[in-house]
């Protein structure tokens, strides 16, 4: 019988609790804002023996993930977590974890990448790693942070997946926002997440293996192909595990979530904490008679192409909010995926860049987007097919925000 207790936790607290419930035995984390409380709380749990684990103090994120990989290969769950430039510093090692099929689950607290220096929420850090061979989950609220981490372990460690997973939570909006969270008890989690065993590659002096050896062109493609197959299988296995989770814990999740989409004239595709604001704004606009809907992408890697295309079938106008700039591309990373998922030329997909570097994505921003999309449907838009990305919340004086004194 599950025994959950309702606790007030912020996103970092929920992430820490989930790692503890997963019984991680080695932790190597390097603190970085806004992830620091995860690294700190885990160390407190280790010192107070509330979590029986070894805490390795490391000098960088590059080492943090390297240690976690080595530890996990000995047959334990190893934990680390990071943000922003910390994730960037892990870049090389991310590929080692995924290529060697080490199913580490890592909370990523989304924060903008440099420059300009920023401590605040933006998805560019995780988006820069979207092809690193990690599964990517994006969370809307603190409950999802807790639940998605537990679910991610079950998926990542599945014998057909064996792929590490990032569980992304928006910096500050989730990491530092305190919300009520149903926290499962250890026994129920133990039943959902049996003790970890290295089923594929492992480090064992009695059965030696040389892992990550030089691989010739004869086999490289094949090993990448093995990863590709895992990502394809994940599209089936993720919903299976989510259903299994719902059976035990009563909370149902999916690859994506549709809110009021069935009869919607326009649909807005969102990801992360902005989804809550978007759904709230959609409800308000529906009360005023506007048929608008919202899709929240929960799993970005693998991208749920078929599910999204099914939901958007027949829609004339779709909007996408990208919380990363996608510089030089035809649109932001989320827009590119949505656009490519819709073969129907009748669907026009518009990209909105918003919420960069910690800017709040407000009801007003969402309402402006919906209003614009509705005008496009009704052809009231002066330039309804204007190509390009709309930076919806950028100040009009963007090109002159800094003025300096001329010293000549």
């Amino acid at each position: 019988m599950k025994k959950e207790i309702r606790r007030m936790l912020d996103g970092n607290g929920a992430a820490t609790e989930a790692l503890k419930l997963a019984r991680v035995q080695v932790i190597s984390a390097y603190p970085i804002t806004p992830q620091s409380p995860i690294a700190e709380k885990l160390s407190e749990l280790v010192v107070s023996h509330k979590l029986e684990a070894r805490y390795i103090r490391v000098e960088s994120e590059h080492t943090a993930l390297s240690c976690a990989i080595g530890a996990q290969l000995t047959g334990v769950r190893a934990a680390t977590a990071t943000s922003s430039v910390g994730l960037a510093l892990m870049h090389e090692i991310l590929g080692v974890a995924s290529g060697c099929r080490v199913p580490i689950v890592m909370p990523v607290v989304n924060r903008a990448l440099v420059s300009p220096w920023s401590l605040w929420c933006d998805h560019q850090d995780a988006m820069a790693e979207r092809d690193s061979g990690w599964l990517q989950f994006y969370t809307e609220n603190v409950q999802e942070v807790m639940d998605f981490i537990l679910i991610a372990y079950n998926i990542a460690e599945h014998t057909e997946i064996l792929t590490p997973a990032m569980v992304c939570l928006d910096g500050f909006f989730l990491s530092h926002s305190t919300q009520p969270v149903m926290t499962p008890d250890q026994e129920t989690v133990d039943a959902f997440l049996p003790p970890y065993r290295s089923k594929n590659l492992f480090l064992d002096p009695k059965d030696p293996m040389f892992i990550n050896n030089l691989t010739s062109p004869d086999e490289f493609s094949e090993m990448r192909f093995q990863q590709k197959v895992a990502f394809e299988r994940a599209l089936d296995i993720i919903p299976e595990v989510q259903n299994h989770f719902a059976g035990i814990f009563g909370r149902q999740y999916g690859l994506l979530e549709a809110h009021e989409c069935e009869d919607a004239e326009v649909v807005l595709v969102t990801m992360g904490s902005m989804a809550g604001t978007a759904k709230y704004t959609a409800n308000m606009m529906r009360k005023a008679g506007h048929k608008v809907g919202v899709i929240k992408i929960s799993v970005f890697r693998p991208f749920p192409v078929a599910q999204l295309a099914g939901l958007l079938k027949g829609k004339k106008v779709v909007g996408v909010i990208d919380r990363s700039a996608g510089l030089g591309a035809q649109g932001g990373p989320l827009w590119l995926e949505v656009k490519a998922a819709l073969p129907d030329n009748d669907t026009r997909v518009f990209d909105y860049v918003a919420g960069l570097g910690g800017r709040d994505i407000t009801e007003k921003t969402i309402e402006t987007i919906f209003t614009g999309l509705l005008q496009k449907v009704n052809k009231k838009d002066a330039n309804p097919d204007a190509p390009g990305v709309c930076w919806i919340d950028t100040h009009p004086d963007a090109m002159s925000v800094r003025e300096v004194i001329v010293n000549d």
Partner: protein, 117 residues
């Protein structure tokens, strides 16, 4: 360039069983003769060596051993022994030696270098 040093499992184990694994791994080992990389080689002055073991600790290839030398200090003396097949000549031992008794000398060529293989 040395050949690929490790091979993926190409012969079945004792009980003829195999299993499929994903990702890069080798289970048949053959080490590269890293000794062939040497341009300089460590030349320890055994008479000044204190046997402290710093070089043994820091050698990245783990090829130094501190051994007893019965001919030194009435049998209590220690000297360093280096496995020339794998010493790659990096010079770290010379750097860390507190007695500064390891000097990097030019690698000898031909049959003068009888220990090289």
């Amino acid at each position: 360039m040395p050949g690929q040093p490790e091979k993926h499992m190409n012969k079945p184990g004792k009980n003829n069983k195999t299993r499929t694994v994903y990702g890069p791994v080798a289970t048949v080992f053959a080490s590269v003769n890293t000794g062939s990389w040497r341009i300089l080689r460590p030349g320890p002055d055994h008479s000044r060596c204190a046997g402290c073991g710093q070089c043994e600790t820091f050698c990245p290839t783990g090829v130094i051993e501190i051994i007893d030398d019965p001919a030194k200090e009435g049998g209590r003396g220690k000297v360093v022994e280096i496995d020339w097949a794998y010493c790659k000549g990096c010079g770290i031992c010379a750097d860390v030696c507190p007695k500064k008794c390891i000097r990097m000398v030019e690698e000898k060529k031909g049959n003068e270098n009888e220990e090289r293989n």
